[in-house]
Symmetry: C2
Subunit: 183 residues, 2 copies
Amino acid sequence: MSLPHAILTALLEKPSSGLELTRRFDKSFGFFWSATHQQIYRELGKLEQSGAIRALPSETPARGQKKEYEVLPAGQAELAAWASAGQDPRAMRDPLLLRVRAAAVVGTAGLPAELRRHLALHERQLELYEGIERRDFPPERDSEQDRLRHLVLRGGIELETFWIRWLTQALETVDGESGTGAE
Amino acid sequence: MSLPHAILTALLEKPSSGLELTRRFDKSFGFFWSATHQQIYRELGKLEQSGAIRALPSETPARGQKKEYEVLPAGQAELAAWASAGQDPRAMRDPLLLRVRAAAVVGTAGLPAELRRHLALHERQLELYEGIERRDFPPERDSEQDRLRHLVLRGGIELETFWIRWLTQALETVDGESGTGAE
DNA sequence: AAGCGCATGTAATTTGTTACATGATTAT
DNA sequence: ATAATCATGTAACAAATTACATGCGCTT
C-alpha cells in the first residue's frame, strides 16, 4: 500500500509533526495523495515502531505536545525499493461515470446540475494548480527534483483539463436532448 | 458508497447471477467501476436482505447452483435517488504520481522502465476502448441510453489518452537525464 | 471414481472513514 | 478561570483485498 510511502516521501522532503503532515496532505501533497489525520497518526505510530522513522527528541514529548518526525535510513531504503518496484495501475473506480451510466437506466433527473457543479469545482482546481505552476515552476527549471515535481503537477493539471473537457461534452449531451436531438 | 449502486445499475441493464456480474465487472462495466467476486456476493446478500433485489425463483437454489437476481422497485428508487444526489469528487490518490514524487527524493532507479510498462498498458487499454466504440457506437446514435453510455466510454477513452500523453512527457523528462546518477 | 472447472460463498486482514476524547496553549 | 483552539490521539465502523472452503456437474 501507498500511505506509508506517501508519509515517508513527505517527511523526507521536510520533517514534520502529525498536524503539519495533515496540513500538507490537505494542500500540495494532497494533489496526488490525500490522507486524513487519523490515518496519518496511526501510520506514524507504525512507522516509528518499525524503525522507519523516529521522533526528534528535541521537545517534551507529551500528549498535546508537538512531535516532529524524521526518516531513518531504513525508511529511506524501504521507500526507494517501493518507488522502483513494479505496480500495476489500479482498477478504475469513478462514481461520476457510474452515475451517468446509472442515469441511462433510471433517468437523468438532477444530473445536469450535478455536472455543472463538478465542472465549476474542476475549473477552480485547475486555476489553483496553474497558479502554483506559475509561482513554483518558472521556465528555467534546473534541478532533477524540480523537473520531477513539475511533472507531477502537470499530471494534476492535465487531469483537471480532462475532466473539464469531458464534463463540457457531457453537458452538451444531456442538455441537448430536452428539445430536438440537434447534436 | 457506490458498490451497491453499481450492482443495481448492472442488474437493471441485465439480470445476472453472481458470477455473470463478476465477469461484467471485469469487462465493460469494470471500465468505470471494478469489483471482485467477494465484494459482489457480499453485496448481493445485503441487497437481497434489504429488499432492493430478489433472486429469480426459477432454478433450484442450492450451493453451487446458479442464482439470478433482478432489481425490485425499491432498488430502482434507491438507485434513482443516489444517481441524482450531490456528491463531491473524491480526493485524488494516485500511486504512480506519488512514486514519481518519491523518485524526486530517493532517485529514479527503475522508474523509466516502469513508466514504459504503464505506457504500454494504457495504449492497449485505449485500443480496446476504441474497438468497443467502433463496434457499439456507430455515428448515428439514437437513444438517450446510447448517448449516455457512449459518454461514459468517451470518459474512459479520454482518460487513457491523458495517461498516454502524460507518460510520454514523463519519459522525456526522466530519460533526458539518464546516466548521470546523483544530483 | 477422480480430477477439473464452475459457481457460490466465508474468513481474516488491511485500509479508509466518521465520530469522539484528551492534554496543552492562547485569548478574553 | 473559562472558553476557544491547537495538537495528538482512540474507538467504532465500513469498505476493499487476499486467501481459503464447499458443492455441483462434466469429462476421462
